[in-house]
Structure formats: structure tokens, C-alpha cells
């Protein structure tokens, strides 16, 4: 084999080289765009701090308000006020979402004098037990959702909403 490169070989190498370079210039952004959602840092995993001290949480649910800063809805950026019902269960701190599973109203702990120790939905008299279990015979069809809870420096931080894990 001669080590000389023929004119024909040189041309085909040169064409492959430039062609490959151009093809990669086209493909790279495509691959980048395709992978981009995977590379974005997940905003769901963030925990939002509240003003509730973990040591002050008792077995009686209390309403904890918190503000989600800069929530974006299309171009509209706003702070969204939200809340959770927080109580202690042994060593665990439980945070229940106050959103009724019927049609999305806000439930209240002991919101009705006739039903102590229960969550009450004022819209259609929905009832839930303390662990979020819906009382059969009232409109809600499922248990209240839960927030992921983390205690950071003694304060309750709330994460994303997950299905109720206390009710079997």
C-alpha cells in the first residue's frame, strides 16, 4: 500500500470531513433541544419554607399559610398564597392539603360545630377524618392529599403534593 493519498481519496476525505462537520452543526441543537427538559433543574422538588416551628406542632391540626414566590402562569408572574393543615402524628409531622377532593373548595378543621375532630368542607358538607380519609356518605370521593414535609432549622418546610399515604 502506498502511503500517498490519491487525489480521489483526498477529495472524499475532505468532503466527509466538512460534511460531517455541517451535519453535526445541524444535529447538535436538535439533540440539545430534545434533551433540554431532562436537563432543567426540577422545580417540583423544591421545599417552601413556612413560619411554622416544628416544635410547636401538636396533635391538633393548625392552618399554616405560605406563599409560593414568583409562580409563572404564561407571562404572568405572581405570588400565590396557599395553606396546609399541619399536625403531629408520633414523631412525624403531617401536612394535609386543604383542597376538597369533591370540587376543590377549601376545607377547615372543625369547620362545623356538629362534627368535632373532623375536616369540614363548607360547600357541600363534605367530611374527612383527621388523617384525611373521606367520610362515606358525604360528597368527597377520595382522601385529602398530603404535602411532603421536611424540617429545616426547626421550621416546617413543605414540598410537593402527593396522594394520601395515611389511609389504606
Amino acid at each position: 500500500m502506498s502511503s500517498k493519498v490519491s487525489r480521489r481519496q483526498f477529495l472524499s476525505y475532505a468532503l466527509m470531513g466538512t460534511g460531517g462537520f455541517m451535519a453535526s452543526a445541524m444535529l447538535m441543537p436538535m439533540v440539545r433541544f430534545a434533551l433540554d427538559p431532562v436537563l432543567q433543574p426540577g422545580s417540583d422538588g423544591e421545599f417552601i419554607p413556612t413560619q411554622q416551628k416544628a416544635d410547636d406542632v401538636t396533635e391538633v391540626p393548625v392552618k399554616v399559610d405560605f406563599v409560593i414566590k414568583d409562580r409563572k402562569d404564561a407571562w404572568y408572574v405572581s405570588d400565590v398564597a396557599d395553606s396546609a393543615w399541619v399536625y403531629r402524628d408520633g414523631d412525624d409531622i403531617i401536612a394535609l392539603s386543604p383542597v376538597c377532593k369533591h370540587l376543590g373548595c377549601t376545607v377547615n378543621w372543625e369547620g362545623d360545630a356538629n362534627h368535632p375532630d373532623m375536616f369540614f368542607c363548607p360547600c357541600h358538607d363534605g367530611l374527612y377524618e383527621k388523617n384525611g380519609k373521606n367520610v362515606p356518605g358525604t360528597p368527597p370521593l377520595g382522601p385529602l392529599d398530603q404535602y411532603e414535609v421536611e424540617v429545616v432549622d426547626g421550621f416546617v418546610h413543605l414540598g410537593k403534593i402527593v396522594p394520601n399515604q395515611l389511609v389504606d
Binding site: 399559610d65 398564597a81 376538597c100 370540587l103 373548595c105 377549601t106 368542607c121 360547600c123 357541600h124 360528597p139
Partner: protein
């Protein structure tokens, strides 16, 4: 429920549960010396509307605000709106306003809820939240009384 197509779909499916229509009335004034007060009152009423909506999402539908300017005769306007809304399927209709000229107005088939406007623009979020909860506690009996009297 808010006034958008998505939530109207839910309304159509769940009509039997969602029996209350709430209509905010907002005055828009552009005279330089009235603008700020007008904006502040509108801000308060819309914020409160959103707050009440979140609490009673499954029973109330909030319409977009009925806006009016200074030469509009508000009682006449309100009666006209009430007349047009009679054709709705809602059992209860509430008008929500900070305007004093509606405060004691009697309209057939409508309950007027009047609240004095509170300047919330300079408040920090937690205070704003507790003010809204106070306001809700004030108006709540008006709603529940109507709801229970119908049963």
C-alpha cells in the same frame, strides 16, 4: 369556579352542586385625583374575590367584574344585570361591591354584599392574608344563610 372555558366544563358536569353566581361590581374612574382610590378599591375587591373563589370553588362561579364609570346610574345598572342573570340556572346570585350606592339596594332575586374597601396595596403578604380571612368571616354568614334558607 373562575370564568374560563375549562372550569365551565366542570360546571356543566357538576351543575347540581354549583348553584351560586357571584358578580363583583368595580368602579373605574380616571380623573387624576380619583384614580388611585379607584384602583385600590378594585384591587381589594378582585383580591377578595379570588380569595373567596379559592374557598368556595366547588359551589360558586365568579363572573368577570362588572365595571362602570361615574355617569352610570349604578342602581339601574345593577338591576339590569340582575334581570339578565335571571335566566341563569343558578339558585343564588350575589353582587359583591365596595360602592356605597349599592350598599342598601334591594334587588329581586339578588343579595348585595357590600364591604368597605381596605387599602391592601402596601401590606405584606401575611397581613394581607389575615385581612382577607377577616373579610371572609364577615361575609360568610351572608352566603351560608342564603344557602341554608333554600334547603
Amino acid at each position: 369556579m373562575n370564568w374560563n372555558a375549562q372550569e365551565m366544563d366542570v360546571y356543566i358536569q357538576q351543575k347540581e352542586y354549583i348553584d351560586t353566581l357571584v358578580v363583583p361590581f368595580v368602579s373605574v374612574q380616571v380623573e387624576p385625583d380619583r384614580m388611585k382610590a379607584s384602583a385600590s378599591a378594585s384591587d381589594f375587591l378582585m383580591y377578595l374575590s379570588r380569595f373567596i373563589e379559592a374557598q368556595f370553588k366547588g359551589r360558586m362561579v365568579f363572573t368577570p367584574p362588572m365595571t362602570f364609570t361615574k355617569s352610570v346610574d349604578l342602581p339601574t345598572f345593577a338591576r339590569q344585570v340582575a334581570e339578565d342573570f335571571k335566566e341563569s340556572a343558578f339558585k343564588h346570585t350575589f353582587f359583591l361591591t365596595t360602592d356605597a350606592s349599592l350598599a342598601h339596594l334591594e334587588i329581586d332575586g339578588v343579595t348585595v354584599v357590600w364591604l368597605p374597601s381596605i387599602p391592601i396595596e402596601s401590606m405584606e403578604p401575611n397581613l394581607k392574608q389575615s385581612i382577607m380571612e377577616d373579610q371572609l368571616r364577615q361575609v360568610l354568614p351572608v352566603f351560608t344563610e342564603k344557602w341554608s334558607s333554600a334547603n
